[in-house]
């Protein structure tokens, strides 16, 4: 479904150049729940940002269902982020001026102008309410982020990311700022969406236990995928599902 081919990405600060990704190739199957693990600075979040069209690679290509998305225009990239991709972050990133319900309705508000919104706001409100109830926050619709716990905010972020029915969810350390219990709740929610709605999930995590609960784990080191055993015949990626790759 999603394929990265020979990605390279470097960051420049004045004359100093830092190579973050080097010739990275990765395949993600539809409906897969993939974990990306590695030490800090290994390029995990950078890979996630490139795959999610939040940034452009210096070289290489990214294909979605066989079509390149790394070189599309700005408008198409915005549409991808609004409709096809969903994002959740370690620090939730909810808009503090808006209520929970309004935060979850944001993707719909972004994709509609004022006049088209008039005809669609009821439907958007119903969808947002339904998904917040599904993540257990049906009773907090009118609350603002500052009135919620970390776990509740992350659940709201998940609802916002999935309200428009995206194909792929990018999760950058979703449990990194939560206690074990809250982190477990988040993982259960993600697994339910992966299982029931067949949402493909790419998750960056430092937690090996959480990584083990996913379909597949890839390890990154030094901007590359760690060496893996040769792929069995017929496998596209060369990395069997459910196998944890040892560090290089």
């Amino acid at each position: 479904m999603l394929r990265a081919v020979a990605l390279n990405k470097a960051y420049r600060r004045h004359t100093h150049r830092i190579q973050v990704l080097t010739d990275l190739t990765l395949n993600v199957e539809a409906g897969e729940f993939l974990s990306i693990v590695g030490q800090s600075g290994s390029g995990k979040s950078t890979l996630l940002h490139l795959l999610g069209s939040l940034d452009r690679p210096d070289s290489g290509s990214i294909l979605l269902n066989g079509r390149r998305i790394d070189d599309v225009g700005r408008r198409e990239r915005d549409a991808l982020r609004n409709k096809t991709f969903g994002f959740i972050f370690q620090f939730y990133h909810l808009l503090p001026e808006l209520t929970m319900l309004e935060n979850v309705m944001m993707p719909a508000m972004i994709s509609n102008g004022i006049f088209s919104w008039m005809g669609r706001r009821r439907d958007a409100r119903n969808r947002a309410t339904a998904i917040l109830e599904r993540v257990g926050l049906g009773h907090r619709l009118g609350h603002r982020p500052r009135e919620l716990s970390g776990g509740e905010m992350q659940r709201t972020a998940i609802a916002r990311a999935l309200v428009s029915g995206p194909k792929i969810l990018f999760a950058d350390e979703p449990t990194g700022n939560l206690d074990a219990e809250s982190g477990g709740d988040i993982m259960r929610i993600l697994e339910s969406f992966n299982r029931d709605e067949k949402v493909t999930i790419l998750m960056v995590t430092h937690n090996p236990e959480m990584a083990r609960t996913t379909d597949r784990v890839v390890r990154m080191a030094g901007g590359r995928l760690a060496d893996a055993p040769p792929a069995p015949a017929g496998s596209e990626t060369g990395i069997p599902r459910g196998v944890v790759i040892a560090a290089a």
Binding site: L54, D55, R74, K83, L95, E97, L98, M106, M109
Partner: protein, 472 residues
């Protein structure tokens, strides 16, 4: 839709932006008050100037008067193509003169004046004469006949010399007393109307609220002497006459009240040997908008050189232009106040963009476009401008409407006359709220608010989403 929602939420929650709103509000309010007051002054001044001058005036540069007799000129004007536009017309003589009189303490005073010879009723029909007389009887029925009070005082101050009568002979028995001699003929003093500031003086240190602040120097019934240049001769020769003060003229314009004196046209023509000539023809039009057309036609009848045909605005163009220039410069300077408010918007928005960097990254990750982010901040600037203008307009109109009450309150608190009524001869601060002015002020202020929000908005729009999400 999210743009409007965020603009409104930022307005309610970003207290720092209140500073921008207050800046715009104060700038707009100041501009409205100043423009309204200056417009009021300008309008009042124009009305006053127009009130003492006729719509159109034909003047002769020579003190000897027009080459044509007055009757001939008036007939030609009435029969011209613009005769139908004329509501009233009257000849006058306007010359330089020296006025001599005595203060109550006996000290002699000689001062230059503008001597105007008018037909009282004719000049009143044209406007700018009878309505400024202080005696209500003369306002209603303008004339140069002395009022009973003026005549009475004149005769009391100037008794007729007594003739020494011979001692009556004692009557013989049965003899009847001789018949009484007939009374002598009454004298015929000429009346003069003098400017109020000539006949009075203001007590030193008096304010507009001081009772009896104006001391009378020349009262009705007092005698003055006038000397002016005679007309109709090869060489200028002085002529003089005595007059009796009949009334004051009070236009509340210092230039007129301190320099102008009015006498009968007929008498001045006789005094100056001008025959039936005048130096000015004053014309009031039925519709002032036709003034240019009338002036154009009259200039054909009376070519320039010996005749100068002008509207009152032409005559006062220097003063009127000065007022407009002053107003224009003041507007420019005051708009700088709003410019300062614009810079505060620029600074505050720049801070808000920095503060909202991560939120901008989040919105972009949800699919918001650069244009959408730009629109949020430009819309926010527009909203601040609109709110500030709305509040500023309400404040400005309130202050303007109650400016005299505010002035009195300030004068009472400070003990100083904030608005010295003697400088302008106005009873209260004149104001003139013009909807067009208020509209332009609001449009300009909103434009400034929007323009100064563009740069921070562009910065916000072009933030890289990844960099924004990582912003600490």
């Amino acid at each position: 839709m999210y743009k409007l929602l965020l603009c409104l939420r930022y307005l309610r929650t970003r207290y720092l932006a209140v500073i921008s709103v207050i800046s715009v509000m104060l700038g707009v309010a100041t501009l409205i008050v100043v423009n309204s007051v200056m417009s009021g002054f300008s309008t009042k001044l124009r009305d006053r100037l127009h009130g003492v001058m006729s719509d159109v005036v034909i003047e002769c540069p020579s003190y000897n008067g027009f080459p044509l007799h007055t009757d001939v000129m008036l007939e030609r004007i009435r029969e011209s193509s613009v005769g139908g536009e004329i509501a009233a017309i009257t000849p006058t003589i306007e010359v330089f003169a020296m006025l001599q009189y005595r203060y109550p303490n006996g000290e002699g005073v000689t001062r230059p004046v503008h001597l105007i010879g008018v037909d009282a009723k004719g000049r009143s029909d044209v406007g700018g004469f009878s309505e400024h007389l202080t005696d209500p009887r003369l306002r209603a029925d303008p004339t140069f006949a002395l009022t009973p009070e003026a005549r009475g005082r004149f005769e009391a101050l100037n008794p007729l010399p007594r003739t020494v009568e011979p001692m009556p002979k004692p009557l013989a028995e049965g003899e009847l007393p001789p018949p009484e001699a007939p009374p002598s003929l009454p004298r015929d003093p000429k009346a003069i109307v003098i400017g109020f500031a000539i006949g009075t003086y203001r007590q030193p240190g008096a304010t507009s609220n001081t009772a009896n602040k104006d001391m009378v120097v020349l009262a009705p019934g007092d005698t003055v002497s006038l000397m002016t240049i005679g007309g109709g001769r090869e060489n200028p020769e002085p002529v003089h006459s005595s007059f009796v003060v009949n009334d004051y003229i009070r236009t509340e314009m210092a230039e007129y009240d301190s320099q102008y004196v009015y006498v009968s046209l007929d008498y001045l023509q006789t005094l100056r040997a001008m025959d039936n000539r005048a130096t000015h023809i004053q014309i009031r039009l039925k519709d002032f908008s036709k003034a240019r057309k009338v002036v154009g036609e009259l200039r054909k009848l009376f070519p320039s050189g010996l005749y100068n045909v002008q509207t009152w605005e032409d005559k006062q163009s220097t003063l009127l232009s000065a007022i407009e220039i002053e107003r224009g410069i003041l507007n420019i300077l005051l708009f700088l106040i709003i410019g300062v408010a614009g810079f505060s918007i620029l600074a505050i928005f720049s801070m808000i963009v920095i503060e909202k960097t991560r939120d901008i990254g989040v919105m972009k990750s949800l699919g918001a476009s650069n244009g959408g982010i730009l629109a949020i901040f430009v819309g926010y600037g527009l909203l601040l401008g609109v709110v500030g203008c709305g509040m500023g307009t309400i404040l400005g109109l309130t202050l303007t409407t109650n400016i005299n009450e505010i002035e009195q309150w300030l004068s009472a608190i400070t003990g100083q006359d904030v608005f010295n009524r003697d400088v302008y001869y106005f009873d209260k601060i004149p104001t003139n709220i013009q909807a067009s002015n208020v509209t332009w002020i609001n449009v300009g202020a909103i434009l400034i608010a929007v323009v100064f929000s563009i740069l921070p908005a562009i910065r916000a729009a072009w933030i890289q989403p990844v960099r924004a999400l990582r912003f600490e």
